[in-house]
Symmetry: C2
Subunit: 452 residues, 2 copies
């Protein structure tokens, strides 16, 4: 006998986006179920941002110890770093998340959920019915490029690349996006011999060109061999090692890590039962609703608006508010949501790059200063390389893009995000005083460079 239970809302996937949506709906008074086939907390918590940052932080901090002066000693302890990483990912145990769900009275179904027609979800023998909404928040997984021999070489994806229990002797990282750059730096810092391979002519190809150059320089300084414009031909397993054959040579390493994009987890979701094609990205409008199906929402990576945890959480709030009857739309996750690559130097960016702004026909001007060209940088990130840029819409007198490269610039970004989101006129921004001596005085010099 099949048990059917009704809820106001059913959330498929308990990653960051799904969790936030479930929590907000439940706090709004709705009866909510979440369905999760793996760990509550999702890819980001266990296999991406969180462990990656945990692996990066000791090396970043050691760099700062050496730059600042006044401290002696200090060295990375790879074992301790891995142990700290395990603590951050709760040893891949999601038990600590359960009270959060219980306190909110959110029903948890463990298993693979699939749509079974309008408002219906099947999880094993359980049949769930959604009175108001089903939210798909199943995220993405690593995409394997169609490279001969790659699958057979059993490469690491972000999962193994963030949770490995030992530092590999040598590692080839395939893909020079944020994930590839972060993991190349992390494993190199922990002792691995690392090659980073990118097809484009620069790493972080969607960011400002100076960001790419400065991150590549940081990686090389640490001993990572950065190969851009690479043309991989095939992978060959050779006993204990794997070889990546390039058009102009080959690289051999103990392990290959693939960081070459993501694909949506929508293959086995029963999308066909509601007239959608399985395996693809789920298109939504600014209410995060699937057009023509007012009960069906998709949030997080799976809708392809912005593959960023914070964007998914933002969408979750908007979708929950829409379901709760509020008149609100997602406006800040397309067109350059804030994003940080946690390398050293870090790349923190929001809005449009100069090229992207000009491609859109904006009368854009860039102003650049050295991120460490201020008194505050005598103390933080002293002498660390990096450029900060504002992209200004000359016609409207507002900022449309900002990039900060340098030590821990991730924490400098939010002021730019507020200025862009609120379209604060530059003439008003000059009255936002940055405290001396903090690194935020970079704003003073950027505005001065603009002529304010």
């Amino acid at each position: 006998m099949v048990a059917t239970r009704e809820f106001d809302a059913i959330v498929l996937g308990a990653g960051p986006a799904g969790e936030v949506a479930a929590g907000r709906l439940s706090e709004g008074g709705l009866d909510v179920a979440v369905v999760e086939r793996e760990l509550i907390g999702g890819e980001c918590s266990y296999y991406a941002c969180m462990p990656s940052k945990a692996l990066l932080r000791p090396g970043e901090l050691l760099g700062e110890v050496r730059r600042v002066g006044g401290l002696v000693g200090g060295a990375i302890d790879p074992g301790a770093a891995l142990a700290r990483r395990d603590e951050v990912i709760h040893d891949l145990d999601d038990g600590s998340m359960l009270p959060w769900l219980e306190e909110r009275g959110i029903a948890l179904y463990r298993g693979a959920g699939r749509l079974a027609g309008e408002r219906r979800v099947q999880v094993g023998d359980d049949e769930l019915l959604a009175r108001r909404a089903v939210i798909v928040a199943t995220g993405t997984q690593a995409a394997l490029p169609p490279l001969e021999g790659l699958a057979e070489a059993e490469p690491w994806t972000n999962r193994e690349g963030t949770t490995a229990g030992e530092v590999p002797a040598s590692l080839i990282v395939l893909g020079g996006g944020p994930v590839g750059c972060e993991l190349a730096q992390a494993w190199r810092t922990l002792g691995a011999d690392v090659d980073l391979v990118e097809l484009a002519d620069r790493v972080l190809a969607s960011e400002e060109p100076f960001a790419s150059a400065q991150v590549a320089a940081g990686l090389r300084e640490r001993g990572v061999r950065v190969h851009t414009g690479a043309e991989p031909q095939r992978v060959e397993r050779r006993g204990e090692t794997a070889a990546l054959v390039l058009a102009d040579g080959e690289i051999e390493a103990e392990q290959i890590l693939v960081a070459a994009g993501r694909r949506p987890r929508t293959e086995h979701l029963g999308l066909e039962t509601v007239g959608l094609a399985p395996g693809g990205w789920i298109e939504v409008d600014d209410a995060l609703r699937v057009p023509g199906r007012e009960w069906l929402y998709a949030i997080g990576d799976v809708n392809h608006r912005a593959l960023l945890t914070h964007a998914g959480k933002y969408q979750a709030r908007i979708a929950a508010d829409v379901i709760l009857g509020k008149d609100v739309r997602a406006t800040a996750d397309l067109d350059g949501p804030p994003r940080v690559t946690f390398t050293d130097p870090e790349v923190a960016a929001v809005g449009l790059t100069l090229d992207a702004a000009r491609e859109r026909g904006i009368d854009a001007r860039a102003v650049d200063v050295a991120t460490s060209g201020n008194a505050g940088s005598s103390f933080y990130g002293r002498g660390a390389e990096g450029t900060s840029r504002l992209v200004i819409d000359e016609g409207r007198g507002v900022i449309v893009g900002a990039t900060f490269v340098g030590f821990q610039t991730g924490e400098l970004l939010h002021a730019a995000t507020v200025a862009i989101t609120a379209e604060v006129p530059l003439e008003r921004l000059r009255h936002a005083i940055a405290p001396f001596p903090t690194r935020n005085e970079v704003w003073l010099y950027l505005l001065e460079e603009y002529g304010l």
Copy 2:
């Protein structure tokens, strides 16, 4: 024979405010002279913010090394810390500042400048005449409280307290404002036995009460004895030590450091030659002009609008622009300019505290969250104590005050400053996405706490 030379503008005092004004006027095409009797760069560069921060940073960084995990070893080297401090203050040599003046064609007069009637300045035998403006930017010096025996005990002020070549065995810090708290922590961290004495019932008495409590706790944790509500009676020199007699006991130490407020450096400025009283603060309007004397400006500490380096630099820009004929006024340096106390935890605040807002009749509501209550704080300032607060004007739906207490919160402040300065509606602020996992997600939780 007296040589008279004419300039467009004469700046008295080459501290941060005077320097910025001179530079901006000169870049605006004016012929500028600056007069300085001590070091080009001023109090802040040599005897305040800069050396204080240099002394604090190693200890702060060591705390972070211990919190983060993944690093072994690391200890403060007091000698190296003092040497790094000396590097930051250029060994009290301002030679490196001269090219900056020369490149801009700014004439430098070394000596004590005094007004000698309208638009006239005397420096030794030189008589300078200002065609457009004289700007007073002579700053402040430590005020000595009228405490019996204090002057005779030859106490340190901020000058000796930031430049001392050796760590004293023991130190009494008189005054629990930002300077007192920072220097108490710095010398304690470098090895001194420290008592901090404050007359008010809490340190940092103009900040939110939780900021006071958390900084006091941080100091006590490091071994500083914090005496609040103290009633000093007199000071007695006893050979190599000095004793501070309180109403309820006494404290003895090798040295006393006075950090009990500032007084304006206006005694020997010739203010009487233009009808102003010497020795007082110089009152100005929002153009930084002395009322009734359209040629006379005062910027920086000396006008008492805000005793903060960055406020002085802001005023310098405004005054220079006014002199250059622009229609601009200072709007952001009164009513809670941004301010940071660089202790651990740091206190970064802008705008009004909750009490101050209510005293002004604002329908104010505070929302509080733990500064480290977000994923980003797993990596920075992990487990460090501290509260973050927004003070919201319920009537207007905007932020009127913000305080962030915690590890390195100084760099978190600027987003709040932009939001307050631009009066960004809270409904719009929710679309300013903070990147995951950075500590700026504190914004997400603050707005959520408010109900957004």
